[in-house]
Amino acid sequence: MLPKFSYIRPDKLDQAVAQIQAGNAAIHAGGTDLLGCLRERIIKSEKIVSISGLEKLRGVRETVEGGLRIGALTTITGMAEDPLVRKKYPGLAMAASEVASPQLRNQGTLGGNLCQKPRCWYYRGEFHCLRKGGNQCYAIEGENQFHAIFGHDNICVITHPSDTAPVLSALGAKVQVIGPGGGRNIAVADLHVPPRDDVRAETVLDQGEIITHVDIPPPPAGLYTSYRKVRARRSWDFALAGAALALVMDGDRVVRASIVFSGAAPVPWRSREAEQALAGNTLSDDTIDKVCRAATAGAKPLRENRYKVPMFRGMLEEELRKARLQEKA
C-alpha cells in the first residue's frame, strides 16, 4: 500500500526549502493527487514536506505594472473566482473553472496544477513504462485514445493534464522558483519537458525547487483571452482537446496570436502554425478555416486518437468564431 513516510509542515519558506533539499522529499500543497501518486509508486519518497502552511504563497495581487502575481498555493477555485483574474484574463478564470471537479478545485493549487503528474493509464497503472524507468511506452501500440497527437516523437505519448498551463503560457507568464541555489524565473512556456529532452521529467524544476508565484504580464490593449476544453464527460475529466487563446486585437484584425493546446501533447502545445496563419488577419471564415487546417497539419495521431484531428479543428473553429462575435459586440 502506501510506503512509510515522514511528514513535516514548516511555516517559513526558507525552512521548507531546506527541508525539501535535505533528502528525496515530495512536496505537499493541495494534496489532491499526492497520496494517489505514492500509492501507485509514481512518487517514491520517504519524506513529505507540506508547504500548505506558507500563507504568503496564497492569493492574487496586482503588480505595479498592472499584471498579476498569483501565489502558488492559491486554490484553483480562488483563481476562478478572483475578480482581478476575471477582469484581466478571463481565459485564465475559464481554465480554472474547467479543472476537475468543485471539490478538487477547492483543494488543488495553482503550483500543483502546473506540476501535475500525467494521467496516462499505463503510467498510472501497473505497467513498468518508459517514464517510470522501464523500456517501453505501452501507449504507443496500446490503447491510446486519450493520448497525444503532437510532440510525442513516438517516445512517450502522454498528454499534459494541466488546464491552467496553456493559458498562462499563452499569456507569457513566468513562474518564480526558489530552491537550494536561490531564486529564478522560468517562462511557463519553458516549464515543461518534452519526452525527447527527458522522458522521466515533467518539469525543468530541479530537486528541491518549488514554485512560489506565477507572474502574468499586464494585459495589452485589445487582449482577448479564452479557454475551451472538450472532454469525455462534463466534469471531473481531463481534456480530449483544449485550447487557450490570447489574441491581441486591433479592431477586427488580430495583431498577435498565442494559441496553446491542452490534451494535445506531452507538454502544453503551442501551435505556432495556427498563430502564424492568424496573425495580421481578420477573423474571416477563410482565415478561420486556414488557421484550423494549419493547427493540425503537423499532427501525428496514433491508432485510436485520429478523432483528435477533426476535434481540434472543430473546437478551434468554434473558439475563433466566438472571438469574432465578442469583438463585434
Partner: protein, 774 residues
C-alpha cells in the same frame, strides 16, 4: 410462462417450495396508504449515517484481510512463497492453494466447479493467496510480499476474435461456451413479404459494476457457527453458497445484511472473498473484515458483457413487421456467466412479428466473469432493436412512435403457447408519453432549430421496452408479529437494495392492518431471524414480497378475529376488521380495539404468516416502458448535451410515488452512462490487462452529464391478475430503452446512425468526419 422461465436470480439457487395459499385476497380498489409518496421508513438512518452497513461493522478483536490476485490475464501458478509475508508485522493468517484449509474447497461459476484457489488463473484478478492481519494496510502489504512464480500463458481478451482458430483456449473445451437458437415462423418468407429489408450491426461495450459500497463482508466464528455480514442483495444466497463451499449445515451459517450500498446484480450472490474471509477468520480465530478495493471489484466483481448484434428486419409500408433475424455474440468472461443472456429477448418478444429467428453465442475470454447487471441483456438488445425500428420507420416514412404503436403485442409470442400478458401498458406508454413529451410539436420545433444550420444540432428520440421478468413469484414467507401494545414487527427475508422495499412493505402491512406505517418496525435480510427469500433482483422484490406481506397481514387479522370472537361472545363470521378495531356487524356499538383482544394481552404477541402464492396460470406478468429524450450535439466538438428525459412506465400499481420516481431517475442516469460514458478498456493488443480501474478512467456520468429535467410518468393500469397488490417490477425497465432513445435522438440531430456504444464526443467526431470524407 413467466413463473417457469429460467430466470437468472434463481439460477443455481436451491429454491424451496412454499404452500399454496389458495384463493388470493381481493384486489384493492382504493388504497389509503399504498401509492402515497411516503418518505422512506429508514431515510433518517441512511441520511444521518446511523444506518449500519456491512462496511461499518466493527467487532472486538476484528482483523482485516486482503487478497493477492493474479496480475496476468492467463497464467499458471508454479510456486508460492509466503515465508516473508508470514513474518510481517500484524499478520495472523495466510492461505494459499497449498494450505491445508484450502484443500478440497470448491467454487462454482454457474455449473462449472473449480478449486477456490485455482493454480490455473484464467483472468486478471483471479485469487492466488489471502492474508489476514491486524490492520488493512498490514494485510495489503503482506499480500504484496507473497512471492509468486507464474508461468505466463497466451491469452485472448477480444471476444470478437475468441472463436478464431489461432487464439488460445480459455477453457479446455474451447471458447464457444454455448450457442442458443430460437425460431418461429419462416424468416425468409417474412423478408420476401417485406417492402423494406434493412440490416445493421450494433456494438455495445462492457460496463463495469460500480456500486457505491464495495463488495465485502465481515466473518466471525462462534464455536462451529459462522456469522457473515455481507453487502448483499440476498442473504440466503450468501448462506447457501458459503455453507456449500465450507460443507456446513445451513443452520450453522448466519448471513446478515440489513443495509447495503447498491448491488445492481453484482451482489446477487457472494464472492470467493466471502468464503476466504470465513476461512481466514477460522484460521486466525478472529473476526475478519474484507472489503475489496475498487480496483479489485473492477477486475472480479462482474460486468455487463460487451456484445455485437447483427439485426436484419423487414417491414411493409403499412408498418407490419414481417421478419426479424437477430444474431449476437458476447463474452461470459473466463467462466460461464451468461455472456449473451437475454440479449435477444426484445427482438423475440417486444413487437408483433410472425417470423423471428435469433442466435446467441456466448464465448470465453481471459477477463473477469460477467454478473447480472440491471436488466441483463435488455439494454444491449434495445440498443440494436430500437435503433432498427427507427430505421424501418424512416424507410417507410412513418413516425417511429406510430410504427411501434402498430406493433404492440397483447400476448407473449416468444413463450410456448403464446400466453397473454396480464396487462400490456405499452400502448399507453407510447401514447401518453408522446403526448406528455409533446412529440409532434417538438419534431417541428427541432426541424426549425436545425435549419439555422449552426454547429449546435438538436434531436429527439425514443425507445420502448418490456422486461422479461418483473412479475415476482414464490417462494417467500413473511411473518408479522403484533405486540400487545399494538406495535408491529414485519419479519421478511428480502433485502432492501436501496429501492425502498422496506417502506413499501410497511405501507402494505399498514394498509391491511389499519395502522400507521410508523408503528411498523421492519426486521429483514438475516438468515437467522427471518424467513427464506430469494435475492432482491430481477425487478421482482415488490411483486414477490408485497403480496406475501399482505397475506401475512390477512392471516394475522384472521387470528385476531378468532380471538375476538371468544372475547365478544359472537360468531366469528359476524365480525369485521375495520381500521384497527374489530366490530360486530349486527351492532357497531359492540367493538374491540385489537390491543384489547385478551389472547394478545396474555400471550404478548400474535403472529400472522404469509406465503407467496403462485402467479396466474398461463399468463405472463411483465412491465413495459417508453423513454423519450431531447438532446443537443455540438457537431464541431462532438459534445452531447442531454436536455430532457421522460420515462413512462407501466409497472402496474404505483406502490409509493416517491420511490417509484427515484427508480425512474436512477435508471435513466445509469442508461446515460451506458449510452454516453462508461466502457471497460482492456489492453487488448499487449498485456490483456485492465486499463481503466479507477473512477477517473472509468467514466461514470457526473451530475453535469445528467439533464436537470427528468420526468417520470407512471401508467397505472389495474392488474388484479398479476398478484393481490397489482404491482409489477420497475427497477430494471427504467434503464432498458434509455441509451437507445439517446441514439435515436442523436440520429435525428446529426443524420448519422451511431451503432457503437458508448457515444462519446470521440465517437461523434469520428463518425461525423467519416461522413465528411466519405
Amino acid at each position: 410462462m413467466a413463473t417457469r422461465d429460467k430466470i437468472y436470480y434463481t439460477e443455481g439457487l436451491p429454491v424451496p417450495e412454499t404452500p399454496d395459499l389458495g384463493t388470493q385476497p381481493a384486489f384493492w380498489k382504493k388504497t389509503d396508504l399504498v401509492g402515497k409518496p411516503i418518505p422512506r421508513v429508514d431515510a433518517y438512518e441512511r441520511v444521518s449515517g446511523t444506518a449500519v452497513y456491512p462496511s461499518d461493522i466493527l467487532l472486538p478483536n476484528m482483523i482485516y484481510a486482503a487478497i493477492l490476485r493474479c496480475p496476468h490475464p492467463h497464467a499458471r501458478v508454479k510456486k508460492i512463497d509466503i515465508a516473508e509475508a508470514g513474518k510481517m508485522p500484524g499478520v495472523r493468517a495466510v492461505i494459499t492453494g497449498d494450505s491445508k484449509e484450502a484443500k478440497g474447497v470448491k467454487w462454482k461459476y454457474r455449473d462449472m466447479e473449480v478449486p477456490l484457489f485455482d493454480s490455473h488463473c484464467r483472468f486478471e484478478g483471479e485469487v492466488v493467496a489471502a492474508v489476514a492481519a491486524d490492520s488493512w494496510y498490514q494485510a495489503r502489504d503482506a499480500a504484496q510480499a507473497i512471492k509468486v512464480d507464474y508461468e505466463v500463458l497466451p491469452f485472448v481478451v477480444d471476444y470478437e476474435r475468441s472463436l478464431d482458430v489461432s487464439v488460445p483456449r480459455v477453457q479446455e473445451k474451447g471458447n464457444l461456451l454455448s450457442e442458443d437458437t430460437y425460431s418461429r415462423g419462416d424468416v425468409e418468407k417474412g423478408f420476401a413479404e417485406a417492402d423494406i429489408v434493412l440490416e445493421q450491426t450494433y456494438h455495445t461495450q462492457c460496463e463495469l459494476h460500480t456500486p457505491l459500497e464495495l463488495h465485502g463482508c465481515v466473518a466471525n466464528w462462534d464455536g462451529d457457527r459462522l456469522t457473515v455480514w455481507e453487502s448483499s442483495q440476498g442473504v440466503f444466497a450468501v448462506q447457501s453458497r458459503v455453507a456449500e463451499a465450507l460443507n456446513l449445515p445451513l443452520s450453522k451459517v448466519r448471513a446478515s445484511g440489513h443495509y447495503m450500498g447498491g448491488g445492481f446484480g453484482s451482489k446477487l450472490w457472494p464472492g470467493k472473498y466471502t468464503v476466504i474471509s470465513a476461512m481466514l477468520a477460522r484460521k486466525a480465530a478472529r473476526p475478519v473484515k474484507m472489503l475489496l478495493s475498487r480496483e479489485e471489484t473492477y477486475l472480479c466483481a462482474g460486468n455487463r458483457p460487451a456484445g455485437t448484434m447483427r439485426i436484419k428486419a423487414g417491414v411493409r409500408k403499412d408498418g407490419t413487421i414481417t421478419a426479424i433475424d437477430f444474431d449476437c455474440i458476447g463474452p461470459s468472461g473466463a467462466y460461464p456467466a451468461g455472456g449473451v443472456q437475454l440479449v435477444d429477448w426484445l427482438a423475440r418478444d417486444l413487437y408483433l412479428c410472425a417470423n423471428v429467428r435469433t442466435r446467441g453465442r456466448d464465448v470465453l475470454i481471459n477477463a473477469g466473469p460477467a454478473r447480472p447487471f440491471r436488466a441483463p441483456g435488455h439494454p444491449q438488445g434495445a440498443w440494436a432493436l430500437e435503433q432498427m425500428i427507427d430505421e424501418l420507420a424512416k424507410a417507410i416514412d412513418m413516425d417511429p412512435v406510430q410504427l411501434r404503436l402498430k406493433n404492440v403485442p397483447l400476448k407473449s409470442q416468444a413463450r410456448e403457447g403464446t400466453p397473454p400478458y396480464t396487462s400490456t401498458g405499452l400502448r399507453q406508454c407510447l401514447e401518453k408519453g408522446a403526448e406528455k413529451f409533446d412529440w409532434q410539436a417538438s419534431l417541428e420545433r427541432i426541424r426549425k432549430f436545425n435549419e439555422q444550420n449552426n454547429h449546435l444540432r438538436r434531436g429527439i428520440g425514443m425507445g420502448a421496452c418490456l422486461w422479461v421478468a418483473g412479475g415476482g413469484g414464490p417462494p417467500s414467507t413473511v411473518v408479522i408479529k403484533l405486540f400487545r401494545d399494538g406495535s408491529i414487527n414485519l419479519n421478511m427475508g428480502a433485502s432492501d437494495i436501496g429501492t425502498g422495499t422496506k417502506t413499501i412493505m410497511a405501507q402494505v402491512a399498514a394498509e391491511e392492518l389499519g395502522v400507521q406505517p410508523a408503528i411498523i418496525q421492519i426486521e429483514n435480510a438475516d438468515t437467522a431471524t427471518t424467513q427464506y427469500a430469494t435475492p432482491s433482483g430481477g425487478s421482482k422484490t415488490v411483486p414477490t414480497e408485497a403480496p406475501t406481506v399482505r397475506n401475512a397481514a390477512i392471516a394475522l387479522k384472521q387470528e385476531l378475529l378468532a380471538a375476538a370472537a371468544e372475547d365478544m361472545e359472537v360468531p366469528e363470521d359476524e365480525l369485521e376488521y375495520i381500521g384497527d378495531e374489530i366490530i360486530w356487524s349486527r351492532d357497531a356499538a359492540k367493538r374491540l380495539r385489537i390491543t384489547e383482544v385478551s389472547r394478545l394481552k396474555k400471550r404478548g404477541v400474535m403472529i400472522g404468516t404469509g406465503y407467496r402464492g403462485p402467479n396466474p396460470a398461463d399468463k405472463v406478468v411483465n412491465p413495459f416502458a417508453a423513454h423519450f429524450c431531447e438532446l443537443e450535439v455540438n457537431i464541431l466538438s462532438g459534445e452531447i448535451n442531454i436536455i430532457r428525459f421522460l420515462g413512462v412506465h407501466d409497472s402496474g400499481r404505483v406502490m409509493n410515488r416517491m420511490t417509484f420516481d427515484n427508480q425512474v431517475y436512477g435508471g435513466i442516469v445509469m442508461g446515460i452512462g451506458f449510452g454516453l460514458t462508461e466502457s471497460r478498456q482492456l489492453d487488448e493488443r499487449q498485456t490483456g490487462r485492465l486499463c481503466n480501474k479507477n473512477w477517473h478512467d472509468y467514466k461514470l456520468p457526473t451530475a453535469m452529464d445528467v439533464p436537470l429535467e427528468i420526468t417520470s410518468l407512471p401508467i397505472e393500469l389495474d392488474d388484479p391478475e398479476s398478484n393481490n397488490t397489482g404491482a409489477k417490477g420497475l427497477g430494471e425497465p427504467v434503464t432498458i430503452p434509455t441509451a437507445a432513445a439517446i441514439a435515436n435522438a442523436l440520429c435525428m440531430a446529426t443524420g448519422v446512425r451511431f451503432t457503437r456504444a458508448p457515444v462519446s464526443p470521440m465517437e461523434v467526431v469520428r463518425k461525423l468526419s467519416e461522413r465528411k470524407e466519405g
